[in-house]
């Protein structure tokens, strides 16, 4: 829910409660005052009638009127005056009308009498009913006012906040260092902006430090690796090496190679994390796959693999060229490595998806974990276990999904662009 909707809703609820309570209290107060004044009128009328009776000869001769009724009581009653509201049917209006009625006892000529006086409440009720629309109109006025003021507040007062939100949404470490402090005339937003500036500066510095660390780590590792490699290159020139020495040298070569590609892989993963491959271009899938198959042709021939490609001529993706090359070469290399001798590789692609399948033994690694780092098949000690982690990372960075299936001794990897 938006801030404006939420605040308006709270205001609305508050105003509604206040109006309901206020209107009810107001209604009863007005009603009380009205009845009081009517009762006062009834009392005066009664006193006047009773006084006037002194000049009449016989009470019984009086003609009872609609609103004043006098009748004789059989004995003395000390009942107090009684005020109450009684509904009565009005012949003229053909409807029930409420009356305020006073019943009062008095003594006249040693006789006991009761007088009943009524007064129509119609006017009072009209007055009370008239209050209702006034309250509603006031409520609507207040509501509109609250809404407009809120709108104004959101627009004017919260403007720096929304501006900051926009900046945060578009914040990209590769494009800007931090989100600089922007002064507004509201203290909280100034604090927020200051915090955001501090936070983004810290993030940027961490990003730089991490980048620097990765570069340094890879530099520091690569130099000793270069030393080992070069010393081996010199060592094998020696004529004095025995066969078992050569065996040791061969093993060292293999380990250095593994270390080198491990270092390269980890470095690549962090580079992708740091979004250091941002340039994109249109890549024709068929071209890149054909080129890569050419690069891998020796390894394919060595295993006598049968490769079938079924790629839409115009199938293309818009992505970073270096990463795309690494992505597909990892997939093809995997399909070769985990294949059987004389097996198959099938590649299908359109502009919306790519899949590669290869024959091969069932894996010892579960399909859920196989995209993790250093998850490798125990049958293949040569593998460093980063290939699919890199594939996954590249797909994530491009926003592609990658899935693995194993069916009828075919391993297949499916990428949806």
């Amino acid at each position: 829910m938006k801030l404006i909707q939420k605040t308006t809703l709270y205001y609305l609820a508050y105003i509604l409660i206040i109006f309901i309570i206020g209107a009810t209290l107001f209604y009863f107060l007005i009603r009380m005052v009205l009845l009081d004044s009517i009762d006062e009128g009834l009392r005066q009328e009664r006193d006047q009638i009773v006084n006037n009776l002194m000049y009449e000869r016989e009470i019984e001769e009086l003609i009872p009127s609609k609103n004043v009724i006098i009748h004789k009581l059989p004995s003395y009653s000390n009942e107090k005056d009684e005020y109450k509201i009684v509904p009565m049917f009005d012949q003229e209006l053909q409807e029930e009308i409420d009356y305020r009625q006073l019943k009062s006892n008095f003594t006249y000529n040693n006789g006991y009498y009761q007088i009943t006086i009524r007064h129509s409440l119609q006017e009072a009720e009209t007055l009370l009913k008239g209050l209702f629309p006034i309250v509603i109109i006031m409520f609507l006025f207040v509501l509109t006012g609250v809404f407009l003021i809120n709108q104004l507040i959101i627009k004017k007062l919260w403007e720096p906040f929304y501006h900051l939100l926009q900046l945060l949404r578009n914040y990209d470490l590769n494009k800007s260092k931090n989100i600089p402090y922007q002064h507004s005339n509201i203290q909280e937003f100034n604090e927020l902006s200051l915090s955001v500036e501090k936070m983004t500066s810290r993030i940027y510095n961490d990003f730089l430090a991490q980048k620097e660390f990765n570069e340094n780590a890879s530099h520091e590792l690569q130099t000793p690796l270069a030393v080992i490699k070069n010393k081996l290159d010199l060592l094998i020139q020696s004529a004095n090496l025995k066969e078992e020495d050569m065996e040791a040298v061969r093993a060292i070569y293999a380990s250095v190679r593994k270390l080198t590609s491990l270092n390269k892989g980890l470095n690549l993963l962090s580079k992708i994390d740091n979004r250091q491959f941002v340039q994109t271009e249109t890549i024709i899938i068929k071209n890149i796959i054909t080129r890569l198959l050419q690069e891998f042709s020796d390894q394919i021939q060595e295993k006598e693999l049968k490769v079938t490609i079924n790629i839409n001529e115009n199938a293309s993706i818009n992505a970073n060229a270096i990463l795309t090359d690494i992505l597909f070469s990892n997939l093809i290399s995997n399909a070769i490595k985990h294949n059987l001798f004389g097996g198959e590789i099938n590649i299908y692609a359109t502009s919306s998806h790519f899949s590669i399948e290869n024959t091969g033994k069932a894996l010892s690694v579960s399909s859920e974990t196989m995209f993790g780092r250093f998850k490798k098949d125990s049958d293949n000690p040569q593998s460093i276990g980063l290939g699919l982690a890199i594939v996954k990372k590249i797909c994530d960075s491009f926003g592609y999904t990658v899935q693995y299936h194993h069916e009828n001794s075919y391993h297949s990897l499916h990428i949806t662009f």
């Binding site: 570069e215 890879s218 530099h219 520091e220 690569q222 130099t223 690796l225 270069a226 030393v227 080992i228 490699k229 070069n230 010393k231 081996l232 290159d233 010199l234 094998i236 020139q237 090496l241 066969e243 050569m246 065996e247 040298v249 061969r250 070569y253 250095v256 190679r257 080198t260 590609s261 390269k264 470095n267 890569l292 690069e295 891998f296 020796d298 390894q299 021939q301 060595e302 270096i322 070469s329 990892n330 290399s333 995997n334 490595k337 293949n380 040569q382 593998s383 460093i384 290939g387």
Partner: protein
């Protein structure tokens, strides 16, 4: 031919100098930015091997300064940073080649030879070894003046051997030279043997001697036996 190796890591510098000295180059070295600057000002070199990260400055600045004096020397950058920007900057400011550490010495040697050939024998660039003649500009090979048709891999292999003749080159360095990054994840290098076998067969077919010998299964040697 005079080469200056500018590299701060002592062992690496020693290895490079040792390998290149065996090739008959006059090899000097510098370990810091200032030392390199001094040597470049005082002497003339045919080729420079420059590390990017140096104590006292970067190799890129060294190249920029060196290029101002408009020297003919070829420049090859060796760097531990496999950053594309560095590579592009290096080539842009006048380096001839860029090699990422860790590299094999036969690879560095082959690249230096290629640079020197391009710079010194412009238009008349040929490699002659006994009955074998290679024209690197047109990628043509002749044996006893008869053209030999080689595949791209076989040609690269022959040139690599000729650049490192008399030295043992490991299978690793051959694989890296021929397949580059794509070889990283290969299980074995057995397929190198296929190319070597084919190259040998073709050359002997044209009357060339068999110069390639296997060294214990670790690598090969191209030698005037």
């Amino acid at each position: 031919m005079k080469i200056l190796v500018i590299e701060d890591e002592k062992e690496l510098r020693k290895s490079i100098v040792s390998y290149l000295a065996h090739e008959g180059y006059l090899c000097e070295s510098a370990s810091t930015f200032d030392e390199a600057k001094e040597k470049l000002a005082a002497y003339k070199y045919d080729c420079l091997v420059i590390d990017i990260n140096l104590p006292g400055g970067t190799g890129l600045d060294l190249i920029r300064e060196f290029k101002k004096t408009s020297s003919e020397a070829g420049i090859i950058i060796i760097s531990a940073r496999n950053a594309l920007e560095d590579k592009l900057t290096g080539l842009e400011i006048g380096a001839d080649d860029y090699l990422t550490k860790p590299f094999h010495l036969p690879e560095l040697n082959a690249r230096i030879k290629s640079i020197i050939r391009r710079r010194h024998f412009k238009g008349n660039n040929e490699i002659i070894f006994n009955e074998i003649k290679v024209l690197p500009d047109s990628r043509e090979v002749y044996i006893f003046d008869t053209p030999v048709v080689l595949t791209a891999k076989e040609y690269d292999l022959l040139l690599f051997f000729l650049s490192n003749k008399g030295r043992v080159v490991s299978k690793d360095s051959i694989a890296e030279h021929l397949w580059g990054d794509y070889i990283d994840q290969a299980d074995s290098f057995d397929f190198i043997y296929t190319h070597i076998k084919n190259l040998r067969k073709k050359m002997m077919q044209y009357g060339s001697k068999d110069y390639i010998s296997s060294v214990y299964g670790i690598g090969y040697k191209f030698l005037n036996s």
